[in-house]
Subunit: 405 residues, 4 copies
């Protein structure tokens, strides 16, 4: 068995184990509930990533393949039209059968069979699909956490998932960092796994610009609120303003106001806690990030001219200014001003993985970096995350940019 | 301890035990999920009937009362504005905490404390509230079953809750039974527990009429479908026709068509089974019952002139024709043509139980009888069940009537 | 030509003239617009009542009948499924062709042909259908006025349709009038035209009760508002309370608050005018009328025990207490506590008029009397008007009743 | 008076005259109705462009300015929050007052006053605002036509607005035209009027690419339909596929199927006419254009590799390949793959015109070119039109591109 194969097997097993670790302190009930259409039950996440290996890998490569349960192919398909029918997304929380216990049993069976496949005498050519499976499961690990947070937020008991708060609260000195303008090669380069949406690597032209060395923090957002930011149309895109009014948006998703205090508290996986002024603001929509930038540009002296960065300004910054990596990765995803579009010459993957990314490339915005909930090793400078402009149940924050130097 | 008090304690304990028996074969996940806004999770039912005893009885009568958990007073309030805040109804399925285990522990504590209250030296005047608590729990026992059936119907595995099918399939000979016309006293009379909506007993005048000795059965409904009943506007109330078209209604809720067979199958708590022609039709809305009557009146010889009975025609029939009791009670609730209105002189109960019935007396129709899911002893001739005209996840069927004799 | 026939012709011509008189001061634009799904453009009303004569009378009785324009049979059908297709109700305001001028030309042609029919040597047996046509047009005359009022209310210019305010503002002395209890014959009796929903005349039993001699007035409603009536759930039916909160209802439909004054103004066909304290309150929903009664019963000394009357209490009152006719008819329609149900033995009219009333007999409440906008001669003690419980763009008010004497 | 000023006055007067010419054959009713939220009544267009001159020009520059009617400032404001309140957009069709006659009278007054301003001894510095007013009115001239077409489509009489069909039906020979790759300056350059969204001119980098010399035509679209294009998920973006299924989209907006023929007819301002195979397809959404490109790439030999062009590929093509101008301008707007984003360094206009374009720069796609309904002189290579991805009541078609040369 080659080292590469060994390493793949190790990483496969580690990623599988990480998922089940994530639900160690959750009850079967916690893993069952679905808090909104956009979120999925934890049990569903555990099942779907398993479905992925069964349908995408085993079905193709396992001799005498048989479904563990053929109904699961429908119940746990997410959005792959090419693969067949699927259970309606808003009703994932109604799948009380199979139980969590049964799903975990299925997981173990699939783990065993993938392991057999990878350690067999004549290993089939499935390494890339296993890599995809690992990366796919890592994405769902982050979603599992954000979905549990959203679920617990809907319970006025405000339960805590964990005692560990992962966001940095270090005080930092703001500075504009001059970016590199002119022609750049952007997009993934290298030999390792990456998503199709990071390709092809191509040339782009950057105007002169600067980026902030820090993320926007809670105390800055509080100033935005206190100056009336959510009540003044002039900071908002037209569609954002309609959203703010229709949904009565007055603060980031998880800020909780009480009558006793002028400063809100903040709900997170550690429960309902006092707002930490120096922590990066999170759980804001693109509309809010964009409005904040416009407000800051006019209202905060050192942010004069501020705007959101483009995704390529961000990418070049991340590649060239590695001393700021601590705020680029592992804190909050950072909204960019770039709509999520295919790169020039983009081709979706062939075969059944073809629906992975390409069909979502419209009416969403790119986020760059990674968050405190992102699984380790699931970060890169060329990584493109994306969400619609009103979404805010993810770990989403912002960093400012401006024209010129 | 008086016999009456002893009997009350026995019945309290029996009703409490019955509820937990109902979930014996359900998993924590099964008890967690809420399949639609109108339905509630089984766990919520178990908790809410317990909340009722805690807030309505113990809080008032227990010396040194303390909430088991004060948050539960909000989480498990159903619709009592007078009692305080409540968790939003469509989000009951999101209450993963407390867990089923914790709810059952709370139940046992409340059981113990109610028992203490009823066996204490100086029993307070709470007998009627305990009676109400028992009857309230009995209502939720039926809802628990209908809600579980609806939940399982949303899972394409079509799981069975039980192996016992409770609906009669005896072939019966149809006959019109002449009803008693003229002045009648209707509404509850007697000394036992009854709901406020069955009172006051009052005089009403019945025109000459007859009632059918049997319920409408599946094979009759199949004839209605096959003759195009769901596609012809002339059988339907205007609002019913709009509902049929908007929701694409083509059969009773739980009938499942397959390509292989002209006869649908039928989902129930025993899973997906062949349609039983002689069983009473069930899970139909008022709109469907009313349309069927109009169709039968014109299309089926022996049903010429058929219509739905009024609730008082039904009540007088049930009191005077006891030989038909087997089809009146314990099979399906029977839609009447009577809107759910207060009786002349109606007064809601005083105090915190005042919101039990009265505030729902609009835009709903009365059903009479009881169903195969109704808890034993929760039936009487004066009992008034009620649902909106489109509701059909309950065990709802019909019996026909006609003018004259 | 018989006197009856002559009188019919006269009344036909008078009713036709009355409709065109109603739009004398309206522009083609005013007659075009549809302010909501429930309302229709004035032009549509003028066309639809003409369609009625063409399709219901001429098509059947006119030798060598030909449609003026066959498309109009679809465009101006309201809800008669039996007659064929129809233009979607919410899009009546988009029918800019035919123009008002063309509709009026069509009206004149139909008038001429009906006149020819009624004055021909061998008059066919169409007298009853002409009577129905006249009564039908009278109903639409009232709707035309309420729909114009609603349209003008949507324009912040608040235009006036007329200078004539028709509601009484006489100060009256309140008194309870004891009603006649026991057995009564109710429903239409006589030889003249009446709607099928007023039949058959039948026996009903009334409990002891009293009715108020007056309508509820604006100053009484103001007291209800000022005491917090719209903000306290305890006065409201559950569905009404949900409606109040969802729609943010805080006053009758046409009351307009301004910052300058604690007393609102009121919009009517005379424009935006100061609220007249002694005028009857109008444009309230059943939910509001019902909540007011419950509030008044507890909050206003002389209204202790107040509730809404049943439709038969109202009808017997109207027949036996003719000295109060001025407040029974010609002011506001009066909500009753009676759901709109068929009378015992009710049969819809045969033939194409069969869809006139019966198919609406569900989820609506009966109103009795008539309003200031009702066409003269379109009132009777047995007349049943009906609207859903949230509707309030009609001239709807209330009169109270109570149990006992 | 300078030549420039004279020319401005001439063009002002010509553009004002053109608007009233457009409604020459429309009735007051035609000008009143609003067929959907996105469309506006013709009368409203005429009034709003007049409001623009009154509020943006006269109010600022006219000595002793007085509103013609201060209410109009609210009624005819479109979306300028900075200017004050506005009448709700979906209710523009309810503004029956002022009448068309009154609006035209107001127009003449404003025309007179602008003329006075421009011919006065000391002309204020308003030339740019007048230019903006002319261009603004030109935009509404196109909208007036598309909105009338949509209105008339909602009437089953299918009235014709005009006898003139303006789309080319010339048969053309398809060819890929190699585009110029590398660095380009894009965006407006010159001294004439242009919108802020065309600026600033900036550098962009184009990959190797080719564009089609022709627009996609009806017969090609028919092939897409007949091959099942609207029923196969694989051609569609995920959001587009959901839209197709939810809205039951099966053809371009104005194609009308009949049972008699396999080829649909097509509704336009000339009424319902046989589909013209060689005319460019129009009234398609971005989702449809994008799906067509993906289908064509795989299904039509000479379109192998086809995709939509970017807006800059289109712009460079238009500047360098003027021999194809006839299909670039004056036929149909052409969807590009470019989301509508601000250009690098973009600044909205200062002052009250600042809300003109910038606040819409999200969740929309850029269209380039101009259409048969576009007012003459309202076209340029740098012009950016934009609509949401589902919009299709505009004159929207497509031209294909591909990578490489």
């Amino acid at each position: 068995m080659t080292d590469a194969r060994l390493s793949l097997l190790d990483r496969f097993q580690a990623s599988r184990k990480h998922s089940t670790n994530l639900i160690r302190d959750l009850s079967p009930e916690d893993c069952q509930a679905q808090s909104m259409d956009d979120a999925s039950p934890a049990k569903w996440h555990l099942a779907h990533v398993t479905w992925f290996y069964e349908v995408m890998v085993l079905k193709q490569f396992e001799p005498s393949f048989k479904f563990w349960n053929p109904h699961y192919a429908v119940l746990f398909n997410s959005y792959y039209n090419g693969v067949g029918d699927r259970h309606p997304r808003p009703k994932r929380g109604l799948l009380t059968r199979p139980s969590l216990t049964e799903v975990l049993e299925w997981r173990r069976d699939i783990d065993r069979r993938i392991t057999t496949l990878l350690t067999s005498a004549h290993v089939p050519d499935c390494a890339w699909l296993i890599e995809l499976g690992i990366n796919h499961e890592q994405q769902h690990q982050e979603l599992l956490l954000t979905d549990i947070q959203h679920l617990f937020f809907n319970n006025s008991l405000y339960p805590a998932y964990s005692t560990l708060n992962r966001l940095s609260t270090v005080k930092t000195q703001f500075a504009w960092i001059v970016g590199e303008s002119g022609l750049h090669e952007v997009g993934y380069t290298g030999q390792d796994f990456h998503f199709d949406n990071e390709s092809p690597r191509h040339t782009t032209f950057l105007q002169p610009h600067s980026l902030s060395n820090t993320l926007i923090k809670n105390h800055e957002w509080l100033a935005f609120i206190q100056s009336g930011g959510y009540r003044q149309s002039r900071w908002w895109l037209d569609e954002g303003w309609a959203w703010v009014q229709r949904e009565n948006i007055i603060a980031p998703l998880y800020w909780i106001s009480s009558d006793d205090s002028s400063v809100p508290s903040c709900f997170s996986l550690t429960g309902n806690q006092p707002l930490e002024p120096e922590a990066p603001v999170t759980n804001i929509s693109f509309f809010e990030a964009d409005a904040f930038a416009r407000w800051a540009s006019e209202s905060v002296g050192h942010y004069a001219g501020a705007r959101l960065p483009t995704e390529f300004e961000w990418e070049v910054f991340a590649k060239t200014q590695r001393q700021y990596a601590h705020s680029l990765f592992g804190e909050v995803w950072q909204w960019t001003s770039s709509p999520y579009s295919p790169y020039p010459g983009y081709q979706p993957w062939g075969g059944i993985a073809g629906e992975y990314n390409g069909k979502f490339m419209v009416n969403q915005m790119v986020l760059r970096g990674s968050s405190a909930y992102t699984t380790a090793e699931h970060s890169r400078t060329s990584y493109r995350n994306f969400f619609p402009t009103h979404a805010r149940w993810q770990m989403t924050g912002l960093r400012l940019a401006k024209d010129g130097s």
